[in-house]
């Protein structure tokens, strides 16, 4: 099949950027979307042009590196699928596709479709962990975790940190991402001692990074390649509100690391 691509080209964060049209010819339906772009890039390189920059690594849908908008939808049309796992059999000859980077103030564009998502790391650094230094753990089976809680924690922990939730949100909110980590750790007995502090610190950090607030639109859940549920945001809000009303703790100072 042959496709027409309109791709956002932007040389650097300070460059203005523009859409450029490319033709992708003889696309094999078994190719992944990124493999289709690989072929387009090979041609561009041989012509002496700059290839289209996009972040990617594992190409198995788990590292969270890849992701861009395809016709306005983060990661494209397949439900629960990162763009590296989207295959060209979902398209047909003559389709016209518009590819744009994640757009959010907290995700500066590095080049073309490649954005910088270190803001998400800083949200984790603010409190997305259980403070247990190496060596100080009790026996694994000394901590009993009910299976249903463990399963729900795992559902939330499956987040790959790709940022599609932010890109899809009209407010560029990182609530689904932040809520997923707060839920994962807050559901487990090991996560209880820091539960309130964690919610306060992570929510504060997300705001400091310039992510917007959640207004329950639900676009994030719709595009999440790991199908993280909106419920994690409710859990985050509950932990945050409880902590705000009842706790003496304050958010830990944000780090710029």
């Amino acid at each position: 099949m042959n496709l027409t691509l309109h791709v956002w080209r932007q040389n650097s964060a300070s460059d203005k950027g523009r859409m450029v049209r490319y033709e992708a010819r003889d696309v094999n339906p078994d190719m992944s979307f990124l493999e289709m772009l690989d072929v387009v890039n090979e041609e561009l390189i041989l012509k002496g042009d700059n290839p289209i920059a996009f972040d990617h690594d594992c190409r198995e849908g788990v590292c969270g590196s890849c992701g861009f908008m395809i016709n306005g939808v983060a990661h494209g049309p397949s439900h629960g699928t990162a763009v590296c796992q989207l295959h060209m059999r979902h398209y047909k000859d003559g389709d016209v596709l518009f590819l744009e980077p994640w757009r959010a103030r907290a995700f500066p564009v590095v080049k073309d479709l490649y954005v910088d998502r270190k803001a998400l790391d800083r949200i984790i650094a603010a409190g997305g962990y259980i403070s247990v230094s190496t060596g100080s753990a009790p026996d694994g089976n000394a901590i009993l975790v009910p299976k249903d809680k463990s399963d729900r924690a795992m559902d939330a922990a499956a987040c790959i940190g790709c940022g599609a939730c932010v890109a899809a949100c009209p407010n560029a909110s990182a609530a689904l991402f932040t809520g997923a980590k707060i839920s994962h750790l807050g559901l487990l007995p090991q996560g209880q001692p820091e539960r309130r502090q964690r919610a306060l610190s992570m929510v504060a950090q997300a705001a400091a990074e310039g992510f917007g607030h959640c207004t329950n639109i639900g676009e994030c859940e719709a595009v999440c390649p790991k199908e993280i549920k909106l419920e994690v945001i409710a859990r985050m809000n509950r932990d945050f509100l409880k902590a705000s009303w009842t706790s003496r703790q304050k958010p830990l100072a944000g780090s710029d690391g």
């Binding site: 040389n11 094999n28 078994d30 190719m31 990124l34 493999e35 289709m36 690989d38 072929v39 390189i45 041989l46 290839p51 920059a53 972040d55 690594d57 594992c58 190409r59 198995e60 849908g61 788990v62 590292c63 969270g64 590196s65 397949s78 629960g80 796992q85 080049k111 490649y114 910088d116 270190k118 998400l120 790391d121 984790i124 650094a125 603010a126 997305g128 962990y129 259980i130 247990v132 190496t134 060596g135 100080s136 753990a137 009790p138 694994g140 089976n141 901590i143 009993l144 975790v145 009910p146 299976k147 463990s150 399963d151 795992m154 922990a157 499956a158 487990l188 090991q190 830990l252 690391g257």
Partner: protein, 637 residues
Amino acid sequence: MQLDSKVPSGPIEQAWDRARFDMKLVNPANKRKYSVIVVGSGLAGASAAATLAELGYSVKCLCFQGSPRRAHSIAAQGGINAAKNYQNDGDSVYRLFYDTVKGGDFRSREANVYRLAHISTAIIDQCTAQGVPFAREYGGTLSNRSFGGAQVSRTFYARGQTGQQLLLGAYQALERQVHVGGVTMLANTEMLDLVVIDGRARGIVTRNLLTGTIESHVADAVVLATGGYGNVYYLSTNAKGSNCTAIWRAHKKGAAFANPCFTQIHPTCIPVSGDYQSKLTLMSESLRNDGRIWVPIKAGDKRPPDQIPESERDYYLERRYPSFGNLVPRDVASRNAKAVCDDGRGVGESGLGVYLDFADSIHRLGRQAIVERYGNLFEMYERITGEDPYKFPMRIYPAIHYTMGGLWVDYQLMSTIPGLFVIGEANFSDHGANRLGASALMQGLSDGYFVIPYTLGNYLANTKLEKLEATHGNFRASEAAVTAMTERLLAINGNRTVASFHRELGKIMWDYCGMSRTAAGLETAIQKIRRLKDEFWRNVKVAGGPEGLNQSLESAGRLADFFELAELMCIDARDRNESCGGHFREEFQTPEGEALRDDEHYSYVAAWEYAANGAAPVLNREPLEFRYVHPSQRSYK
């Protein structure tokens, strides 16, 4: 070159305790004065960086990805072994040690393996406490499953995303240290050279992948945790960015490279579908617990699987290895798959595939049980192939997955360059000629959480290091060399892309240095690699310039190193006139077609020393002694 493994004397059960007691400690108040660079942020790197910072060292950690959470450990699916014996099925530290030495086909260092088995239980405790959501039983205890090469159930898992969850645990510990200032994290940063001063590793030179800036970093010790080199084959289950550059450039500065030809071919990957293919996807080996592997008995039988009656199917692993069945070690399963496909009995369009069939298990356990165990893997398979594995058997074929070889390290995990430590897949130490399933995660975390924090302290406490600045001549020289290489790559401006060279190199390696090898084939491969390398340096076309994000330049630099490593792999494979584990030389096999070791002549670690200016690498041998697990012909029958 002198290879001193520094294995403690005396009974193996107490070796690690004794070694730790003999170590010199660094005064807690002085730790912050020591700087350590950790290159790589996968399981080994992240756990090491976090733990060293918890102890008080000043740590700098770097990764080429945009975030440490994206390191390729994230993609490990199946699980992590530990000798907990929670299932009361006869497991013990000694049994895990025994299985690992045997599974490695008697080419690993016993003392290291024993330590790994010994530490395995503490890893599960640590990860559980961090909140890793391991699978649970209804009573709330930890659940286990079986894995290839073992007859006990000792594998802990978090659905099909064990690597992801363990890495996120280590990543979160790392970010906690970033927050308190113990670790300076440099993402999007690639190490391009190791700087050695007065015979000791004293820092590295890096390229900032977003800006193109070349920078020097001084340290008191350097830890490489940069993973394996499977991408030398182009198509592998590794991430696209996984590369050998850090370990190869350290090798060129004097670190011996051990057993480079020991590579692992994973039996259960999704078969190749076309030329454009950029990588291969693994289906966790845990699938072999409930899936049955078969091919048609008749060669060239192209009927769809549901029309091939039971009597015309060959469940060849169950037939040949009745006691281990579908759970034989990876090398055995892979070679058998190749053999049936070479017989013309392979399935799928290319004929390079075998069936992995869940019909019996779905019938016996119900669909829901299979969904719970493997749901995400089945989805992944369907997404990639467009076929529903609940209805049709999966098609699988072996693919390059892991490299047991790596930089040589002693018992302290220090390379032949003092002050340069190597951990995780990047070193050679624990898996011999074949790694058992669910042991990579165990080794990465063992090295990072529980070994390096002690051994690195011991090195620092015993070593007097001069204060240095990045203006030192050796740093300047490395910066100049790195810059010159970048300029040279950009100046060629030829007619072929980096990927086209890489694909061709991969094909040479897969054909001649893959699942089976011959002396003549390896000789051919060496000639072909040299010619291709020459052409690369004359005819590659790298897009863009030295500044800013340039993915074409990144891959060109990595490929330049892969060429050199590929040649060394072939030299090593040609030199080892025996078959062992993943290294199968056709000339050396039993009448039944199993790997035939030659313990009399090859019971050693081959540690290769780099020779400059195209001279032949120098082989150093570390003899292997087996005092506990006596070498025998591995039998899984």
